[in-house]
Structure formats: structure tokens, C-alpha cells
Symmetry: C2
Subunit: 329 residues, 2 copies
Amino acid sequence: MTVSSAPGKVYLFGEHAVVYGEPAIPCAIQRRATVRVDPRSDGVTRVEAGDLTLDGFTVEYTQSVEDHPEIDVPEHLLSAATGYIDVALEQACNAVADPATGFDVAIESEIPLGAGLGSSAAVAVATIDAATRAMGTELPPERIAELAYRTEREVQDGQASRADTFCSTMGGAVRVEGDECRNIEAPELPFVIGFDGGAGETGELVAGVRKLRERFDFAAETIRAIGNLVRAGERAVERGDRRELGRLMNFNHGLLEALGVSSYTLDEMVWAARRAGADGAKLTGAGGGGCIVALGDGEQLLTALDATAVCVDAFQAELDRNGVRAEGA
Amino acid sequence: MTVSSAPGKVYLFGEHAVVYGEPAIPCAIQRRATVRVDPRSDGVTRVEAGDLTLDGFTVEYTQSVEDHPEIDVPEHLLSAATGYIDVALEQACNAVADPATGFDVAIESEIPLGAGLGSSAAVAVATIDAATRAMGTELPPERIAELAYRTEREVQDGQASRADTFCSTMGGAVRVEGDECRNIEAPELPFVIGFDGGAGETGELVAGVRKLRERFDFAAETIRAIGNLVRAGERAVERGDRRELGRLMNFNHGLLEALGVSSYTLDEMVWAARRAGADGAKLTGAGGGGCIVALGDGEQLLTALDATAVCVDAFQAELDRNGVRAEGA
């Protein structure tokens, strides 16, 4: 029995603009997906998952996720989760000398699924790490990040960012620009996350921004402004200037709002956090619904988020300096 | 007895950026300040005002607003209103051959005071028109706009935009860039306005944007993006493309939010209007509190705004093609 865990992430700055070559800064958070892998020799793969969303699910399958029995999890979330595991196991098998023919896989995740917190990347990273170790091969983190990226790319029909899988593998604060990812020095970053229980349609949201950018010079300017904001944000991270980071998060949120990717639930949570004393707050990820991230200590932000009509889950999640790691079985 | 009325305005696009030479498009709305003027020969000026805010007030004074008796209106609003009337009467007297030594002035206004709807400009414009006509001189509108601008500039310690007074004098949709104001062709524009009962501190808000612009290249870019958005907005106004106007209003609101001049009350009203089917919605004026303007027909928007916890007044106010005008006594 081999167990690995890998963290989720928030975007401190730069989502959406990163698609057009601007830099972005995702940060790993202390919320993890934990994957247990046992190789089998009978060609059967069995996946058991708890807490992938608010509910858990268990599914057994041999070849394809299409065979799974009826269970109480939205179809697209289930296919998504099992899809990532399937491909991640395949990548793991390709990376070892003596691959197994099947696996028992058990996933526990503290990261809400499809909420923009990088749950799929964390699952892919932890699965690859656990599966390769279970088959007797210790891969260097760069290789795990690469295989997890390929996993996301394959599952997401060629559309994936290296940032999520790199961030989950390496931990800490990451600077991504195009295909280049590297860790940057960061201070303690106490995040509070608010989740509205929903999820935007990432593809549609990205397409919406693309359309705006093609039609309007000022939309392209807005995207470039996000890029320059990220550059200022990078300096503020390295200086450890929390107030400045908060100010930039607020500004970034407005630019995302301009690009049409916020929602009333996200805005309500953002304002609740700001009014409760957050240094700053913004949506994180593709938007349209999902999560906001606020920078600030304490119970006050949680209480304020819980008091909104729209927040179904609020939790503290510090910057996590650890990436993927082996866990005691 | 001579009576004139002049309309308030909303910013369809471009507030704040207009301070830095970008174009903006204010629009006159069918909400008016009405001023009745009777010249006196005894050196006494008596001002009576109803509905300047939610309450009305009456004040009698000879030389200065400092002499006014205790009345049930916030001090700063009272000084503001009487200050504008005082200076407007002075401007009117300078513009006629045979000035009176005092006046009876009665103001009725449908425009909430200090809410960013141009109430002071409308009062100044209507006062100058009524007072000059009462003293036997019919001024051309350009001259009224100029005198009303000087009135605002004097009362506001040298800080005034020509846009508000020009828009109130001429009516319709106005394009302003620097000191140049001109009317542009516009379709029917059914606006719905939501008022949170508050008012931002215009000076502080403008100073806040200035500071951001001086510190951050991306803030300067955001302001330039607003300018380019206004140029696109101008074409959409001339084409009469309401859906496009709504889209641009939403985008403009996000850029203003990025510049830190929105508030949770304004955002809540903006989202209420959008969710009720508005083509678009944005804050109007300096922000920080005050009013939002939504583009859309019907009761639905009013109902949605009234249903929010933060809106104290919601009303329909079409684009007004008439500027200052004489009213039956």
C-alpha cells in the first residue's frame, strides 16, 4: 500500500491572462488530495473515492469509466475524476520498468472538485507519485509534474496549463509564464477560501474572454494590465508585503469582473471578506462561480463568509510549502 | 415669477478616466431640478427648497449661507445647495444689464443630492436660466452652460468638469473630452437607477485613483482602457446598439471596481439589475456609494432593486433629450 498526497492551489494573481502569455502566480494551499495505490495482477482497476465533492463515491471498472454503476455524484464530476485517475495510472505505467496490470486506488480529497482549486491536478500528481512508487520507481518531481501535465492535457482534450500540476508537485508560490514555471520566495500567506458550491464552465469562460479580446482593444489592454499587475504582485510576494498583495488582489478581481468572469455569488463573498478586514479578496480560477480567495487571518473572515447567503463552505488554507509527498500508509 | 428646470445626468461611460483626458459620455435623464426666481429690490435673498434630499428645507439669508437657521438637513448638503444657488445668482447678475439686489428662490428637485446624478449642476443651470430671464435677459444655452460651469468651479474650489453643466444645459447624450463637449446622436435609452442612500467622498475617490495611477503602470493602463471603451461606446450609441451598450457598461463597471471606486452596495445593486435582465449595469459618478445605472425596460429591474437590502430608492429615468427649459409659472 503506497500513499501520496498533493496540494490544491489558488491563483494569487493572473488567471485568464495567463492564457495569452502573461505571467501568473498560483500558490499551493494546505488542502490535499491523498491517493492510496495497490497494484493488482488481474487486470482490474477499482477506484474508491471519498469526499471528492461534498459526497463521496465508489466505482469499480476495468477498462473505461463508461462502465461505472449508478452512484450519487454528478455524472460529469465522476467521469472527470475517474478520467484523471485512469490516464494518470497509464502515465505511471509508461514510466516504470515493470508496470502492473491493474490497481486498487483510494482517493480522499479535501479539495472541492471543479471549484477551481486544482483538485484534478492534485489527484493526478498524487496518483502518479503513489503508483510509480508502488511499482518500485521513485521519479524526480520535475518528471511527476510533466506526467501529471500530460494527464491533464489528455483528459482535457489538449487544453491544460502546466501551472496547476507544477504547483501541486512543487508546492509554494509559483511564477508561470507560457510553459515556464518556477518557484518564487513567499512569506506566510494565510488564505481564507469561500466556495459557493458551484462551478463555472471553464471552456465557456475562456472562450468569452477570447471573444472580448478579439473584438475590443480595451479588453486586450485589460489582459495586459493583468500581466503588469502580476509583475507588481511578484515583487510584493518577494518583499512579503501583505497589504500590497491585498490591494493587488482587489485590483485583479476588478479586471476579471470587467472580463465578465465574476458572478454575484463570487462578488458577494469577495465583499464579505473585504468588509471583515481581509487585506484583499478575489475570485480564483476560471470564475463564473466556484471559489474566492481572501488574504487575512482569523475567524472573522470565516464568520463573514458563512454569514452570506451564497457561501456553502469557507475554510482557512495557508500557503503550503510542500508539494507532493509520501504519506504513512 | 420665472421658472426653469434642468435635468440630472448619469455617466453611461467614462467617469474617473475623464479626469485624465479620456473621453466620457454623460447622458441627461428625465429627472429635473426646478427653480423659481423672483427678483427683489431690498437686498434680501430667500431660498426655499423642497425634496433636495429625501427631506426638504427652507432657509433665508442675506449675505452668506453661514447665517442660516438650524434645519433638518445635513450641514454639508445644505451649504452645498445654498452655495451653488448663491454663486449661480451672482453669475446671473453679472450677465445682465440691470441686476436685482436680492431674490426669492424656490427649488424643487427630483434628483437625489450628492448621489452623483448631477443635482448641483442642474440646480446651477436652472437657477442661472431662471434668474437671467427674470431680470429680462435671455442667454444662449452655451452661455448658460459656461456660467453654470463657473459656478461649480467656484463652489468646488477650482475642481469642476464642464460635462455635468453642459449635459444639464443641452440635454441628450454628450461626448466630453478635456474641455470639449458636444452632443451625439442617441437612441431611446431606458435607464433604471438604484440609489443606496449614501454618497462617496468624490475628492477622496478621485485622489485614490490618482495615487493608483501614479504608482502602478497597470492602473494607468486601466484608465486608458476605459478611454478606449468609451470610444467603442460612442459608436454603439450612434448605432443604437443597446445590447452592446449593456456589455460595455458591465465592462466599464469592472474597470471602475478595479480602480477601487465601487462598494458592496453598488455591486449588489448592479448584480440585482443584471440578474433581472438588464442589458448592463454600472455605478455612475464618483462611486464609493450613491447610484448605479442599469439599461433596461420595465418594472422587473425596479422590483429587483427594491428587493435588495441596500437600495433605498429605485426609479426609471429615460434619456432626456431636453436640457434646460422654461416652465409654466
